[in-house]
């Protein structure tokens, strides 16, 4: 049996609130194989975004085991987490989250810059190639504000792919897009999954979720299906 890319065992996550501890994840077990396209669905507050945060190392689980791409995130020192994430995980956010004072090209180059991958010339060439791949090479020098929502999300996907990570994580990537643009973005994910990138996508859109390779349903901090 192959090593899973993501392996979560008995994962819990509690947040301290004024009303006492709130359990966002309650004993999650999840196994995702390399190259899988997994859609995580659930209602607001079900814990799906927390699950994504635990997988990406953005948040640390309260208990359990979290193994991602061979790394034990529960034991990884906080100081190493950002570097690990930069090389291992590409993240796509619902509101694109491009840096407003950098051009599309510079936004895509930024993860390579932080990971110190290649020479500046090589980074530029790779960023242009990625923008080409998402169909935005002609918009490379534009600032995010000059791009439409769909274009910004495609730049964000190109940025997520910048360091060629084995795992692409997307939190409601189509939630802020019209249906046509959302479809184009989803097709891009399908294409990437076809090329071997593991994709974990949180979505509200059950139609899109059904079209992913696997659907994981989260409710009240549990995986229910």
């Amino acid at each position: 049996m192959n090593q899973p890319l993501i392996l979560l065992s008995s994962v819990t996550k509690a947040y301290a609130t004024a009303a006492g501890d709130y359990l966002a994840l309650r004993g999650i077990d999840l196994r995702i194989e390399p190259g899988e396209f997994v859609a995580i669905v659930g209602k607001s507050g079900s814990g799906k975004s927390t699950l994504l945060n635990v997988i990406t190392g953005i948040d640390r689980a309260s208990s359990g085991e979290v193994l991602v791409a061979g790394a034990d995130l529960m034991r990884m020192p906080a100081a190493q987490m950002a570097a690990w994430r930069g090389r291992t995980v590409g993240i796509v956010f619902q509101f694109f989250q491009l840096l407003p004072t950098l051009t599309a090209l510079e936004n895509v180059m930024l993860p390579m810059d932080f990971a110190n991958l290649g020479s500046p010339r090589e980074r530029r060439a790779r960023a242009l190639a990625l923008l080409e791949r998402v169909g935005l090479a002609d918009q490379a020098e534009k600032l995010p504000l000059a791009l439409s929502g769909g274009q910004q999300q495609r730049v964000a996907i190109a940025r997520a792919l910048a360091n060629n990570p084995p795992l692409l994580v997307a939190d409601e990537p189509t939630g802020n897009l019209d249906s046509q643009t959302a479809e184009a973005v989803f097709e891009l994910f399908v294409e990437l999954a076809g090329l071997g990138t593991t994709i974990v996508m949180v979505t509200h859109d059950s139609e899109l979720a059904r079209r992913a390779g696997r659907m994981v349903l989260v409710a009240d901090g549990h995986i229910v299906g």
């Binding site: 953005i58 570097a83 989250q97 932080f114």
Partner: protein
Amino acid sequence: MLTPRWRKVIRDLRAFPTRTVLVTLSIAVGVFAFGVILTARAVIGRELQRSFLAIEPASATITTTAFTDDLAEAVERLPEVAVAEGRRVVPARIRIGPDRWEDALITVLPDDGIRRIGIVRPQAGAWPPPERAILVERASLVRAGLAIGETVVVELPGIGERAMPVAGTIHDLSTPLAVLTAQTFIYMTEDTLRWLGGPAGYNQLHLIVNGDRRDVTQIRAMAQAVEQLLERSGHPVIQTYVPPPLQHPAEALLPVITVLMLIVGLLALVASSFLSINTISAILNQQTRQLGVMAAIGAGPRALAAMYMATAALFGVLALMLAVPAGLLATQGLAGFLAGQLNIDLPWPVWSGEILLLQIVAGIAVPVLTALWPIRSALRRPVRALLSGETAPPPPPLAVTLLTRVLGRLLRRPTLLALRNAFRQRARLARTLVALALGGSVLITVMTQRTSLFATLEASLAGLNYDLEVQLAHSYRIERIAPLIESLPAVTRLESTLRAPAFPVRPDGTDGEELALRALPADTDFFHPRLAEGRWLAGPGAREVVFSTNIRSKEPYLRVGDWVTLSIQGRESQWRLVGLIEVFTPPTMPAQAYVDLAAFTAEQGGVGRTDTVRVATIGHDPASHAAAAAAIEQRLTAYGIDLRLIRTMSDERRILEERFNLATGAISIMALIIGVVGALGLTGTLSINVLERTREIGILRAIGASDDAIRELVVTEGLTIALLAWAGGVLLSIPMSYALAYNFGMALLNIPLIWTYSFPAIWMWLGVVILFALVSSVLPARAATRIPVREALAYE
């Protein structure tokens, strides 16, 4: 090629030009003030010492009876002596204009003008000293308001007077500072002095020690050897003066002034660093989500910290680009002003490589170091919290909640909102308040300093119940002088005194610094000084002495209750020191000594005689004083009495007021600098607050708030901060002004000033702070009303 992260750093600065300009200006003002003050201090200190060493200052000066070059040459042959030079110094007075007489000191220069000790240099006009004309020390010329070519009357008291042209000016750094003395220093050849009726030969020996010129022990040994030689050759020693070696008299005063300026410069730097923290915090607050995104895509805490520290460093670099050239310009002005007061020349341009380096380090280090704290606290937050953009401020303090609840019934809703807004970012508010309150407290402190100076002056003058002091060229019988003055209609009464130069004899047998000794009736009606320690003279005949407090710095071994040996006119006698009195005089001036007239005449002779008459007049204003002085002069001259000088209380007051204006003027400039930092801080804080509430302002406008209402919101917030800063400034000014009044008084006048809090300053500060708030609110209020609702609602 710059990598994207560094491009982001630069573009972020350009994206918010107002914020960048404000923080740059506030750092620049701090660095500017710090640099100007430090440079002026370093250059003045260095040049004062260099200039003083260049004149070959005397290691010791011995006053004796008339002698010639032969004696000076014999003294120079002593192994302890490197150089010995004879000098003739004669007290005189000089008439400037129709009826204004001033105290003067004539120094005879060699015919070629060249001295080997206390070298003087030609400045303007004639050189070497021409016959039957005078040269005037350049600082004296300015102080007395004279001009080259002008004719003045020079009088040798008791001998005669002649009209003489001012032929030129010279630079003599060995004279006391013009600003501290009311004396005019004039120079002439020996022939000219003889023509004026003055004595021949020298009366002072100026000496340079052969050996270590900084070693007081060697200098004293040399002085003793010279004294023995003089005594052997029939020249009694009248006085031996050993000044602090190779130290210009002003070097003792300089630290007081520069420490004060340095404190103000540091305060400006601290205030500007607070504003730098505010701005960096605001940037981090605004970019919380961006920080989260960068952390999510692989930026580690060090990489992120480096980016924001670079932002802070860039603010510093921009600030330096303003502060360094502006500072260099201002340094020329400040150093030039101080050099003028100290009577030294400065090389141009005035600058210091070390201070420039320090300025550059401070300009960059201060914003970078102050940015560390907000950067650290931002990066300690979990990435999840950063990504969610959580910047919710803590709730307003309970006091504010209760206050707004109470005021809710009285104030309009937007006003209440503005009050709450002011307290939303409490750390930022605190830093803004400190910066602004510092400016206010320094302003009130400066004004309090002024009122304290004048209160102390008034208290000091209140003990002087006379209006004029008439100094005669030599002593006369009281029965001859008193009726002449008392019969004048302007005069109400008078008191006769005697004066004499005296020297305290130190425990090692050497003479201390010259004292201005005055013998007056112990039960005088005219002189009731404020006592700093001990008591006033007990009564007629008591062999007691009272010194002014500046004796403490000159003869520190003296204690009230001690028996003191005084050398008066070459005779030593014992007096018990019974008290110290507060006299308004700088420490560089001679200490004053008061003894009972009867005890003095019993010791020194002169019973029934006077050389100084203190006079009370009917009028006490400057015009009455001038008229009385003219009448007395006319009367005494008509009766063949030789006058030395008439001093009026109005003149004394005018001279002291000039000194106060000088002292408070320099600090006022510093207060202005801190004030500017505070105003910039207020503008910066309001701009940041408005920027951070862009979305909120959009919501307010969407629900119907007019431009006026938005403007009112910002201005009221500014006024709230300003009023808090006003209160803070007032509170802070109380200990600050008290400490300044005490230390300034002790250091410069030997007495703590009478701390007199300036209440008008409180209201002036209120006016200034309200003006600051209104001016500071203009830009942010305009920005707030110009944000389109749609953009504001979409703002993150």
